[in-house]
């Protein structure tokens, strides 16, 4: 009896062991062995590994911690423009001399040459004929206003220095200027040629004091004959460099 039970239990145990061997597909802890790779698969894997190695950046030894600083080069300011005003006297031919107010704009192109645009205004007096003739008026108030502008080329020459006492030296220089423009006077615009010369002193780098004499020449037939008329002006001015 006892041996029968023993045989039964042994049979049961044997059957169970065989069943476990057949259940390996569903046993979670059972690891599959990989099938051995074929030759084609081996080649493809080798190519992929080589391509990945080429694409990858070379290994860096030290990672830079500091970014390169961008150096901004400061711009240099150019101070070639001169802007200012002048006051003086103009002797209008056939009329009287009259106070003159002027504006000037200079652009220094080189050490020697500059371009100038200038304008001025004066109120002329009476001709001798009007003064002697009593109530005779040749011109209206508006026509008596002498207004001009010039576009000129200037030339700096004889540069030098002027000295005030022992400790102060100021750069200075003479200049010649000549150009073309227009005068509005006697109710008409006239083509004008201007030429003159001046002296410039710079107390500082940004300020200049000018003394200048200039002749404005135009042709007019207003007073009888068609002739050239010279209008000499002398002025004192101040300009600022920008």
């Amino acid at each position: 009896m006892e041996s029968r039970i023993r045989v039964l239990l042994l049979t049961l145990a044997f059957a169970l062991c065989g069943g476990c061997a057949h259940l390996h597909m569903h046993w979670p802890f059972h690891r599959h062995a990989k099938p051995p790779p074929t030759q084609a698969q081996q080649d493809a894997d080798a190519d992929a590994a080589a391509a990945a190695a080429e694409a990858a950046p070379p290994p860096t030894v030290i990672e830079p911690q500091v970014e390169r600083r961008k150096v901004k080069v400061p711009k240099i300011k150019s101070k070639n423009v001169e802007l200012g005003a002048s006051f003086g006297e103009i002797s209008i031919e056939s009329y009287t001399a009259a106070p003159l107010t002027g504006l000037r704009f200079d652009y220094h192109v080189t050490e020697d040459f500059y371009f100038e645009a200038s304008a001025g205004r004066a109120m002329s007096g009476k001709t001798s004929f009007e003064t002697l003739g009593g109530n005779i008026q040749l011109l209206t108030e508006d026509e008596r206003r002498f207004t001009y502008y010039n576009l000129s080329l200037g030339y700096n020459f004889l540069p030098g220095e002027v000295f005030l006492g022992r400790n102060l030296a100021m750069t200075s220089g003479f200049y010649m200027v000549g150009g073309i423009g227009s005068v509005k006077f006697e109710g008409d615009h006239k083509f004008t040629v201007n030429f003159g010369a001046g002296f410039r002193v710079l107390p500082t780098d940004w300020l200049a004091i000018h003394i200048e004499a200039q002749d404005l020449v135009f042709k007019s037939d207003f007073l009888g004959t068609d002739r050239l008329r010279n209008n000499l002006e002398a002025s004192l001015g101040a300009t600022v460099y920008f």
């Binding site: 150096v71 080069v73 400061p74 711009k75 240099i76 300011k77 150019s78 101070k79 070639n80 652009y107 220094h108 192109v109 080189t110 050490e111 040459f113 371009f115 645009a117 576009l151 000129s152 080329l153 540069p159 030098g160 220095e161 030296a169 750069t171 220089g173 150009g179 073309i180 423009g181 227009s182 109710g187 008409d188 615009h189 006239k190 083509f191 780098d205 460099y241």
Partner: protein
Amino acid sequence: MPRRLTRGLRPLALLLFALPLACQAAQRELLQLFVTAPFLELHTGPGRGYPVTEVVARGDSVDVLFRRTEWFKVRTERGVEGWAAEGDLLLTTLADGSPFKFERGDREGFRSHRWEGGVLTGDYAGATLVEGFVARSLTDSLKFELQVGQFLGNLSNGYVADLGLNHVFMPQWRFSPFLTMGTGVERTEPKATLVVPRDQTYQTAYAGVGGRYYLTRRFFLRAEYRHHTVFTKVDANEVKQEWKVGFAFFY
């Protein structure tokens, strides 16, 4: 002092006090240059004849304050100020060791520059012309230009203003021809003594041809012919011929 006057002076006083502050705020960082030549000479004024009173040794630096034509006002490390010629500053370097480069007025500048301006005179349909112009370079060959002038004739005076494009052929040549075209306005003021004065302003269109010749430094000569069509209010348009010549500079 009357109250109105003091009130009027208040903004002026404010401006006077504010101006130095504004100037202080506008102070800029200066460019530092290192001398690589054996020495750099500093003159007392911006001109070739001014005496040399300071010499900066190789390896020392100067701060550039500003530029006037071909001269640079600089300050040395010891605080001495003087004028250095642009030719001498070609032998200096920036703080990073690169050479100091700047725009010079030469043939290269004549070929390629940003601005130009000048004065022209000539004949506008029988009247004497006085004109100024300014042009902005879009490329070395193509420029956008504005000309404003006054013509002074026996029968009438007037003003012209033209805005247009200018195409320079061979900008690298010393003599370079150009074509120009654009539009503008013309204002004519007939003289009162001859006809009934009536000022007239009309639109115009022009096409022209000309040439430019490099002289020296920043200067060149310019001459051109323009054919203007004036769009008058009568049936037929008026045609005006213009030629002019003048001095110009580039920057």
